[in-house]
Symmetry: C2
DNA sequence: TGCTATAAATGGAACGTTCCAATAAATCAA
DNA sequence: TTGATTTATTGGAACGTTCCATTTATAGCA
């Protein structure tokens, strides 16, 4: 085993024959130190196997270089992609993001936030767990630590949000389905305790109104935002007396589920029933049939969120503008025309 | 905005009319304090909006309550499942796991490890990035911080590993394919710079030997361990003069890729070509056709890894035994008999 | 009453950094 | 040479905790 007690700046100082202040300056890359001295110190640092104690440093320095990333469902590849975007910009800024998972549990979220705060994070990027109470971030705001939400927002808070244009995306997707001849569209998955749900469903309804689909011809099926939920939605929908011929799904996971359920019934997405997803995760393109989906530029949103956070930290403010990311519809195979309709546009 | 400077233990002491030592004891839940005093202090804590400074505490306390979890690919749902298992155990132990992603990049891994160390983690659970140099963990070991590897091991290090029985899993899967009548099995995906690759491929070869498949009738196709890699493997395999009729895939992602490529050619996994995956991720069961795969009890491995880590921390040792998790083959639809063979066992 | 034993609360040093103010050494101007 | 200026280096206080050694208050017992 190596060094009994861990080496400190003083051990380095002794080793290199300088004062601790000098070592500290070298550590910070100060130009005030004579180059030869600096290299001597650096050698000593290696020799004693020193590891910097950021806790001690933060005691004096006020702000740290770590930001916390609190995510409600690590299992969803969407968040992994988001995280990747953030990491790119944080890395360049010398900031280290620590990721914590709340598994959609507000109690766990509370604990995780507490821990991160105790650790002295410089800022927090949060995709809040479902059922988060409005007051959950009050203490953090009071402490002056900047927070930004991604993807989800809380009903009445003034914390900035970085999210895609959910309404617009849903409008685009729904218009696409209707233009392809579907007169009985459905909306699959999600539940009304999510703000995002209202945004996406709202877009769906707006497009239906605009293109003259009567309320009686639309079907809305709530459900889990997972593959399993998507399968259940499709079953429910096909069991109705006048089943839909197409569905906009709350997200891609739901869409994949719906497609699997179709397959189980011997039906094929795109020819027998049109399916459109939301998020355009990497898998959508490689699926078979390839999934038509609303692309939200996930990694781009992650980058944007990271930039907003860096800006807040730098300007020591706790306010920032919302950022609504542009979306686009990526048409693939899963959204064919209604086979019972004459209106299908060829393309 | 609330409090200008953040409240400390001294502010609480003043507020509650006690000494800082008393506050400290209350914070630690010591029974030495009179209950009424304790509640008075707790009220003061609330009132001043105090947040505990763990950095300062660690300066005296020597060991922290955070452990670092360093993962090579957050995008793989497998690791998310692993993380979930670990979190369960850590949460119960009052330990907070911080997750960091290395994106399979040894340089990034170096940075992440450095950061975690500076933060004063109590331990590290690592799934090393591909191409990690043997010396990468020397400094950490020297500092006496316990490390455990999950899933992957480094060629000659003595760091404990928690991983599934890869060899056995591959044997089981290969035997299954051969017993179903496939005399020309293939191994898809992975590359020889991974220790895991050799273990799984080794199992495949062992089973081939045992059941009398000559070397000339086996096909080994290296490739990325992703859907895309799996698609490529299948294409390569079918382009050979004597194409295989079945494949054991390095992991489920590769298997999904192979199945997609089959579909693109109008073939169906299970009837036209047998596919077996490895890891048995949640998706395997819901896929269509459902994927036969080697179940490794991912969450269980995560729990085990967490337990090993807690034990190491508690007993202040840096040594621990390897743990090789039991595996089992879950037979589903994707691994039907060779349709050109008479030997297929009915079941 | 005085004494000890127990319970409750406290002061102060220590942890490993940063950073200000001060010193020491080297250079320059006259 | 002397003083002023610049360049390198340094001591010491401070940051917010913990924990040991004390002190003070309370109770118990003869």
């Amino acid at each position: 085993m190596a060094s009994r007690a861990k080496a400190t700046i003083l051990d380095i100082a002794r080793e290199a024959g300088v004062s601790k202040s000098t070592v500290s300056l070298v550590l910070q890359g100060s130009g005030l130190i004579r180059p030869e001295t600096a290299t001597r110190v650096r050698k000593a640092i290696e020799d004693v196997g020193y590891v910097y104690n950021r806790g001690a440093a933060n005691l004096r320095k006020a702000h740290s270089n770590v930001i916390g990333m609190v995510i409600n469902d690590l299992t969803n590849p969407f968040f992994a992609e988001l995280a990747v975007g953030m990491e790119r910009v944080f890395q360049a800024a010398g900031v280290v993001p620590f990721i914590a998972n709340t598994a959609e549990n507000p109690v766990r979220q509370e604990e995780v936030l507490k821990s991160l705060m105790e650790q002295g994070v410089a800022g927090l990027i949060v995709s809040p767990a479902r059922g988060t109470t409005p007051g959950a971030f009050r203490r953090i705001e009071a402490a002056g630590v900047p927070i930004a939400f991604t993807m989800r927002r809380l009903p009445e808070s003034r914390i900035p949000v970085i999210a895609p244009d959910n309404h617009r995306g849903a409008v685009l997707a729904t218009e696409h389905l209707i233009r392809r001849g579907h007169r009985r569209p459905a909306f699959f998955g999600g539940s009304s305790d999510l703000v995002v749900y209202h945004q996406r469903l709202g877009g769906f309804l707006t497009a239906c109104e605009t293109l003259g689909i009567p309320a009686s011809d639309r079907l809305i099926v709530e459900g889990e935002t997972s593959r399993k939920g998507g399968m259940a939605c499709l079953e429910t929908a096909l069991a109705t007396t006048q089943p839909p011929t197409a569905a906009l799904c709350f997200n891609d996971a739901v869409a994949f589920g719906a497609m699997l359920a179709l397959r189980k019934r011997g039906l094929e997405a795109g020819t027998d029933f049109a399916v459109v997803g939301f998020d355009d995760v990497a898998e959508a393109e490689h699926y078979s049939p390839a999934l038509t989906s609303v692309a939200v530029d996930t990694a781009g949103l992650g980058e944007r969120a990271a930039h907003v956070m860096l800006k807040m930290i730098q300007s020591r403010t706790t306010r920032a503008e919302d950022h609504i990311g542009a979306v686009s519809l990526v048409v693939r195979e899963s959204s064919g025309p209604d086979r019972n309709s004459q209106l299908g546009d060829a393309a």
